[in-house]
């Protein structure tokens, strides 16, 4: 029977569960006024952040070692809640004209957030698997939410099929790990692997495949090559706010659990997974960039761009032990949250106003909606890593980590990829600024969307101009992980 203290430590999760249930219940009674549920969910996100913050001073596990309550978990819980908050602000206007059943949408968004907070805190393979599945199931439904839209349905189905396969692989990997170590707890796995008396612990022929199988599930969420195939189709088909959510939320949670699993359970295998991840990082960033160049649809462009961004972030994981490594991942993820959500919300706004996602239709946007165009330039600068933006800070950290760890070629691959990425980001800028506008000449942006863009813009720029507090926050949040072997 969980005691009162445990309940308190579960505050964020309980709050999210409560809000989600409340939304589902209220949805039965609120006809045609479902917007209120969106704002209720938003309030729930703010509450989650506020409840999470005080937990950051703890460092312990609860529920028989299933969940961690530590700064790293809190950091990613706040990331999850912030992501959903911005996505909700972008959803309300967008969904009003597109779906008659918005109540469930908001409820599912809250549940997806709950799954991410659980994933970020999981310290046991079983808990990891459950939260991974929880996140997947909510995501599948959200992608296919526009049920009369073929693309949406197709995207949801593809996501489901790919997801089911990788889930099976992951589960198989977990069972192998359990077979070798006799435990599902991350810390117990580490101990078993470090035990010289355990003959299986030295058996690379089993260990390495099983580790790779486990990583497949995380790589799927993060969309690392070769587990990325679902990304462009799901982003293109999904309601754009959901695509925005998928590009940031599950990715961040995936990195959280990737860090935790690798650093807590598998430090003894680091030589192997560093090699594997290095290859994946370079292939992921290069592939994402090269394919993004050819895209005509802005959602697909952002999908491939988000694949390559994951490749950059991975450099921080690879160089986890240096000063810029793990904090670099956290900083990059936060900067990426503001930047990529910002870019996506501009796309939401544009799509909402014009009904188009074609890059060619962005022609002359600076004359039609100057603020949207200007904001998108800043977000693209940040994605390309041009200062003074959060994206620059993130790149400074992850590329710096690669250098600090002595992985020069990775850093060089990273910066050269950034140059390539500028080409397609500024291909959109070229449309917006250099080409003549199409009618109608004035596009009034709804207020909630505007507010979400302003917040993202502020986050992006403040992280670039005064990064000190963000660096401190990230460094403090990984303190616990840093102490581990």
């Amino acid at each position: 029977m969980p005691d009162l203290e445990t309940l308190q430590l579960l505050g964020p999760e309980l709050a999210l569960t409560g809000i989600a249930l409340l939304i589902f219940v209220l949805d039965l009674f609120l006809k045609r006024r479902e917007d209120i549920l969106g704002w209720l969910a938003l309030a729930g996100m703010i509450a989650t952040v506020l409840i999470s913050l005080p937990l950051a001073i703890q460092s312990r596990t609860i529920l028989s070692g299933m969940l961690a309550v530590d700064p790293l978990a809190v950091y990613f819980k706040i990331i999850a809640a912030l992501t959903t908050a911005l996505v909700l602000m972008a959803s309300v206007d967008y969904l009003r004209t597109r779906s008659a059943y918005r109540g469930e949408f908001y409820g599912l968004m809250v549940l997806a957030t709950l799954s991410m907070t659980l994933l970020a805190a999981s310290t046991d393979l079983i808990m990891i698997f459950i939260s991974l599945e929880f996140l997947s199931l909510t995501s599948y439904v959200l992608v296919g939410y526009l049920r009369h839209d073929w693309l949406s349905t197709e995207g949801g189905l593809k996501y489901l099929l790919y997801g089911a396969v990788t889930t099976a692989i992951t589960l198989y990997g977990m069972s192998l790990v359990y077979g070798v170590t006799g435990s599902t707890s991350l810390e117990a796995i580490a101990q078993a692997l470090a035990d010289p008396a355990n003959p299986m612990a030295q058996n690379q022929a089993i260990l390495l495949p099983s580790l790779i199988f486990v990583l497949a599930g995380f790589a799927f969420k993060i969309s690392l090559v070769p587990f990325h195939q679902w990304t462009p189709d799901a982003y293109e088909g999904a309601p754009i706010p959901v695509a925005a959510f998928l590009s940031v939320g599950p990715k961040a949670a995936g990195f959280a659990i990737l860090l935790r699993t690798l650093l807590v359970a598998f430090p003894s295998l680091q030589v192997d997974w560093i090699a594997v991840l290095s290859g994946i990082a370079v292939v992921t960033m290069t592939f994402g960039n090269l394919v993004a160049i050819q895209q005509r649809n802005i959602k697909r462009l952002l999908a491939y761009s988000s694949i390559s961004q994951a490749g950059y972030i991975l450099l921080g994981v690879i160089a986890f032990w240096v000063g810029f490594g793990t904090p670099g991942v956290l900083i990059y993820v936060l900067a990426y949250l503001f930047t990529n959500l910002g870019a996506f919300i501009v796309v939401v706004a544009f799509s909402h106003l014009t009904g188009s996602d074609d890059i060619h239709d962005y022609a002359g946007l600076v004359r039609r909606a100057p603020f949207l165009a200007l904001a998108l330039v800043v977000f693209f600068m940040s994605l390309a890593g041009i200062p003074p933006t959060g994206g620059f800070l993130g790149k400074l950290y992850v590329f710096g980590a690669a250098i600090q760890a002595g992985f020069w070629p990775l850093a060089v691959a990273g910066v050269l990829n950034s140059v390539v990425s500028l080409y397609y980001y500024f291909g959109v800028v070229r449309q917006m600024f250099f080409l003549p506008p199409k009618p109608p000449l004035s596009l009034p942006v709804p207020r909630a969307l505007l507010a979400a863009i302003v917040i993202s813009l502020a986050g992006t720029l403040i992280m670039g101009i005064y990064p000190q507090p963000f660096i401190e926050l990230a460094t403090d949040s990984v303190a616990i992980v840093g102490q581990l072997p």
Binding site: F434, Y466, P467
Partner: protein, 521 residues
Amino acid sequence: MTIPYLSLITLAPLAGAILSLFIPRQREGAIKWFSILVSLVPLALSAYLWVSYDATLGGPQFEERYDWIPAINVEYRMGVDGLSVPLIFLTALLTTLSLYYSAFTIQERIKEYCALFLLLETGMIGVFTSLNYFLFYIFWEVGLVPMYFIIGVWGGPRREYAAIKFFLYTLAGSVLMLLAILAMFFAKGSFDILRLQQELRPFTDDFFLQSLAFWAFFLAFAIKVPLWPFHTWLPDAHVEAPTAGSVLLAGILLKLGGYGFFRILLPTFPQAFHTFAIPIALMALMSIVYGALVSMAQWDLKKLIAYSSVNHMGYVILGLAAAALLTPVGLAAGSSAAPAAATEILNSKVMALNGGVLEMFNHGVITGGMFFLVGIIYERTHTRQLREFGGLGSQIPLYYAVMTTTALASLGLPGLAGFVSEFLIFRGSLPLITPIAVIAISGILITAAFLLWKVIQLMFLGPLNAKWTGLPDMDRFELITMAPLIFLMVLFGLYPAPILTMVNKAMSDLFSIVPVVAGLF
């Protein structure tokens, strides 16, 4: 409390750019005059810097230091010396003139145009005032974005291609520089430009790493200068940019690269620079000769001027390479065997460097003026084809006079500014790298040839092309734009002391303050 002059100079244009966004788009006159007024702030303050910089004391002055990101030891540090003060003034002057000239010539999207020029000014001046790599890099990159838009929106027919080419090229160079900056930080724990040169001196024990870092910085700066073979972005960008954009590209953006050589490359990696001095000198030689020859082959006036920049910036790098090269005589002399010879070598080195800095300033004034003149004639004739002109001398005598003065300054006629700097460069480098310098002198000949033959003769002499009867001469605003530039060409041609004293102090300090440099030479 001391007044933060440098922050004011650097950030006033940025503040102006942001404020100008709040002026309604329709009030074009107000936007134009507001941005000109804003640009006068850095101009006036940088003139004050020039007057009050203490050249006998030397070193960084008007310093500002604040903690900025203590977590990674980043300071907000600004300071100027004899190298940066003239370049800051040049930037402020050319920006004001550009905005003034554009106020009469730019017709569309005035608001964005003015805001972008002010933003560009912040980026350019920031590079000259920053003494911390983090700050330096931010300004270095920030300048790219407005120039991309200036070329892409207001440029010529191939503007979109030229804009993205400019951006990608320069970005490719600078990202590698970022890696080198990070490597230095991890080696020595500091982003401070001067401390890294004077005390911390990264990679002195590992020549391979020093070479890597050196070439990373070199690439960033060489692309910007641009040094042959990294110049291919320049003709596109300069030709397609609108007049004022070309002025700032040639006048200032190229100097950012040159400034990097003087401020960072030479004092931070003296051994590497010394080792690679000959290949770099050869690249400079190629820039000089090839730039001049390609210039000569052009029939488009703007392209001709654009390529001549490759030639002129080649002189700057030639002087640097000569100064970095350690001659056997110098080494022996260092052990006081032949103090007279050692002093002579050192003098030559300082002279070559002085010439290089002066050449950057003069090239900014002269070629900036040239691009204005190209714009002035293009506004009237809508052509830049040299073969279509002819006999304009009698039709537009004022323009003829101004263009001739500028062209003569550009080819290095004694009495005008270009001569002083080129003389110093060659006087300095001839004893140090005689064969290369001798060949490089041919560049001056070729420059004289194409300026006299193609520009002066084809445009102004001979019978008047009937098409141009009734062509109006220079307007008052065009004369006002050109007047300060002509004044500087004449002033520093006859009396270079005001700038030379300051530059000389900064350059000789390089050999006394930076221990490695001093030890090496």
